[in-house]
């Protein structure tokens, strides 16, 4: 999150254009060749290595053409190609993108505006249930009309993307209004509660949500021309939907990044950061607290809302369990792991957490079970997912609290005073006052008689002279 006004970093890093290209080509080729013939664990590892090329493209110093080429080839060519032959990987990639958008939305609320929201997944649920109810036979059950027996016209998907944004933003404001007077821990607890309320509503409003049994099947948008393209590329019919959603998700993540950067470098973004840094000072500078915070809540929620609609269309099945508290924590840990307030960091966090949770750890467990057939079930690594994940978070907080790819600001906040530079805390303040005190007594004149505290100083001076 470097703003235009920050000084350009001197580029002492070596140019790695060809290394980047070579790395991408090699991992990409290996992935395409071996995607089906390798054990799951090796496959996961290979996928991770390949996805790392996107990270390197962002991080390394390389010619712009190489970066663009690597990004475009990876996203538009290799990943769909791999996805064609391995549906699980395709699904995983889409899931990463969905979580990246969620994390970017939460990043606005937590990372920029500093409002700790532990119920963020509620907005995701709003979007998902919105499309889920209308695009499934559930709507027919609610209205008991034959016209809706199989849900509404799937072409309305496009409209629902917009409705999802609006509905989630509206719920964001609704939840935000009563709680924004609270700060820090209190806000976190209340958002946690309200997040659970949404989930409990989804469980108990059985008439509309079909309760804990969930809603299925949920339709998706019909995209004839794109399906034709997919067919020509060798995708099977049941993959058409993933193919379409993959590109849709890419597009939306791109838009979300654009919105994030643009807001970050605007009057609104500065107001958010100012509120995070010092609410009282921000308000004294004319930033209206409630409106600015609600804007953060609504903007963050709207990203979750649109992704909820897509999530429902991808899964074709949603139940309240998809939106429990651990999902909120998961998204929050992506933001923290990646680096609060940092757009590339948050995306990286989403990638790392999703890969670990959905791919690497399950693959590891599968592999271990295959190698050691009599493995004690208590030792199954899949059972230790949360444990391993927790350990990673603890280590991160201890050794790199600003995240993997921190924003410049965060780094400053986290390491304020580490190197003994000027810190405006009470200590240095007192030191300054003490220094001033000494100077005051030397150059005093009649007016100083009124200065409070001077009397005692005078007294000390006098007793010093007498000694």
């Amino acid at each position: 999150m470097t703003t235009a006004s920050l000084p350009p970093r001197p580029s002492t890093r070596p140019d790695r254009t060809w290394l980047l290209v070579a790395y991408t080509v090699i991992t990409g080729a290996l992935l395409v060749i071996f995607e089906q013939n390798l054990p799951t664990l090796a496959q996961s590892g290979l996928l991770t290595l390949f996805l790392a090329s996107l990270y390197f493209a962002h991080q390394w110093r390389a010619a712009p053409w190489a970066k663009i080429a690597v990004g475009a080839a990876s996203l538009l060519f290799v990943l769909p190609l791999v996805g064609r032959d391995n549906g699980a990987i395709f699904d995983l990639i889409i899931q990463i993108a969905i979580f990246a958008a969620l994390a970017l939305g939460l990043n606005i609320v937590v990372g920029l505006a500093g409002l700790l929201d532990l119920g963020y997944v509620a907005f995701f649920a709003v979007g998902a249930y919105l499309w889920g109810i209308f695009a499934s036979p559930q709507i027919g059950r609610i209205y008991e009309g034959a016209a809706f027996a199989n849900g509404i016209n799937p072409n309305l998907f496009w409209l629902f993307l917009a409705v999802g944004i609006a509905a989630a933003a509206f719920v964001g404001i609704l939840i935000g209004l009563p709680v924004l007077k609270l700060r820090g821990d209190y806000l976190a607890i209340v958002t946690l509660g309200l997040g659970e309320v949404i989930r409990v509503l989804a469980t108990n409003l059985t008439v509309y949500t079909n309760g804990s049994q969930g809603i299925t099947p949920i339709g998706s948008a019909p995209v004839g021309p794109l399906n034709a393209v997919a067919a020509r590329l060798g995708f099977t019919e049941d993959q058409y939907n993933l193919f379409f959603l993959y590109f849709l998700v890419l597009l939306i993540v791109g838009l979300v990044i654009l919105v994030n950067t643009r807001l970050d470098r605007s009057r609104i973004g500065r107001a958010w950061i100012a509120i995070r840094e010092d609410e009282v000072a921000a308000q004294a500078m004319g930033v209206p607290l409630v409106r600015t915070k609600l804007l953060a809540f609504a903007t963050g929620a709207s990203f979750a809302g649109i992704m909820g609609v897509i999530f429902a269309a991808k899964q074709a099945f949603i139940s309240p369990e998809s939106f429990n508290f651990f999902q909120s924590i998961g998204v929050l840990s992506m933001v923290i792991l990646g680096g609060m307030g940092s757009i590339p960091g948050v995306i990286l966090g989403a990638g790392v957490v999703t890969l670990l949770n959905l791919n690497l750890l399950p693959a590891l467990s599968e592999q271990l079970q295959a190698t050691i057939p009599n493995l004690n079930p208590n030792l199954d690594p899949a059972k230790y997912q949360r444990f391993i994940f927790g350990v990673i978070l603890v280590l991160m907080m201890l050794y790199r609290p600003e995240g993997l790819l921190p924003s410049v600001r965060r780094q400053i906040e986290m390491h304020e005073g580490d190197d003994g530079t000027a810190v405006p805390d009470s200590l240095s303040d007192n030191a300054a006052r003490a220094a001033n005190g000494g100077a005051l007594t030397t150059g005093r004149n009649a007016e100083d008689a009124l200065s409070p505290g001077l009397a005692t100083r005078e007294e000390n001076d006098r007793s010093g002279e007498e000694r």
């Binding site: 006004s5 605007s266 009057r267 609104i268 500078m285 009470s426 303040d429 001033n436 009124l450």
Partner: protein, 263 residues
């Protein structure tokens, strides 16, 4: 009168923090509010800036009653302030700090920012130009891209003043601007405050403990003690006021017995 404060009162529980205090500030003047620690000066400021709502009384800025407005609305109405303990946005650059101060004067909206409309670009460019101008005004131009937390102490105080000025105030309230400054920095500050009034035409009200600064700078001084106004007038009048001496030094000292017990 640019600011006309009439009989404002504030109690916290049983404590009468400010008791029916009046303050009239002439346009383009430099006015000081002094008093011993705990006299209610900062509470008085906090009422003017909308952080506290007075129990009684009125606060009128250029004909407009400010009682009941939120702090950000008060700022928009034309009163800016600094804080006793510096409250800069430490992880923002000096320039960004001032840009936050431009917030109430910027017109571009959320949608403008999303679409990077022409209005947004012009608005941002104007705000940045103003920020640079103000940085130069307080002589911090070289720190434009430096994070606020890295600035020396005295410069942070000046940056805070620049940030307050960025809101285009009619009147600026400075809460102990010289606290922690050495005599050299205090002299610079004195010159800066005069320039704020003379060059920008902004009225200045300050709370200050540094009497040399107060006495040489102020055109009018109001003294508070235990939440009540005990004296008001020109510096030399206030300096020789018996009640003021008593408030600061105690009854015995004011009567000329000060220091006897030490001998």
């Amino acid at each position: 009168m640019i600011l006309d404060v009439n009989g404002i009162t504030k109690t916290f529980g049983g404590l009468l923090a400010v008791n029916s205090v009046d303050l009239k500030v002439p346009d383009r003047s430099i006015v000081s509010v002094i008093g011993p620690n705990g006299a209610g000066k900062t509470t008085f400021f906090n009422m003017i800036t909308g952080i506290y709502k007075p129990d009684k009384g009125s606060i009128v800025l250029g004909g407009r009653d400010l009682v009941g407005l939120r702090p950000d609305q008060v700022t928009a109405a034309g009163i800016a302030r600094t804080f006793q303990n510096i409250r800069l946005f430490s992880a923002m650059t000096a320039e960004e700090n001032i840009l936050v101060g431009r917030h109430p004067r910027q017109k571009s909206s959320f949608v403008d920012a999303l679409l990077r409309t022409r209005r947004f670009r012009e608005d941002e460019a104007a705000a940045r130009a103003k920020a640079r101008e103000l940085l130069d005004f307080v002589n911090l131009g070289r720190y434009r891209n430096e994070f606020a937390t890295n600035l020396p102490y005295g410069d942070q105080r000046r940056l805070e003043i620049a940030r307050a000025l960025a809101t285009d105030p009619k009147l600026v309230l400075l809460d102990e601007p010289a606290a922690g400054m050495n005599p050299r920095e205090t002299e610079d500050l004195k010159a800066l405050i005069r320039r704020i009034r003379d060059e920008l035409g902004v009225t200045v009200v300050l709370i200050e403990h540094d009497m040399r600064l107060v006495m040489t700078l102020s055109e009018q001084i109001t003294v508070l003690d235990y939440g009540t106004k005990i004296a008001e007038g020109l510096p030399h009048e206030v300096r020789n006021d018996a009640r003021v001496m008593e408030a600061y030094l105690g009854r015995g000292a004011a009567a000329g017995e000060y220091g006897k017990e030490a001998r």
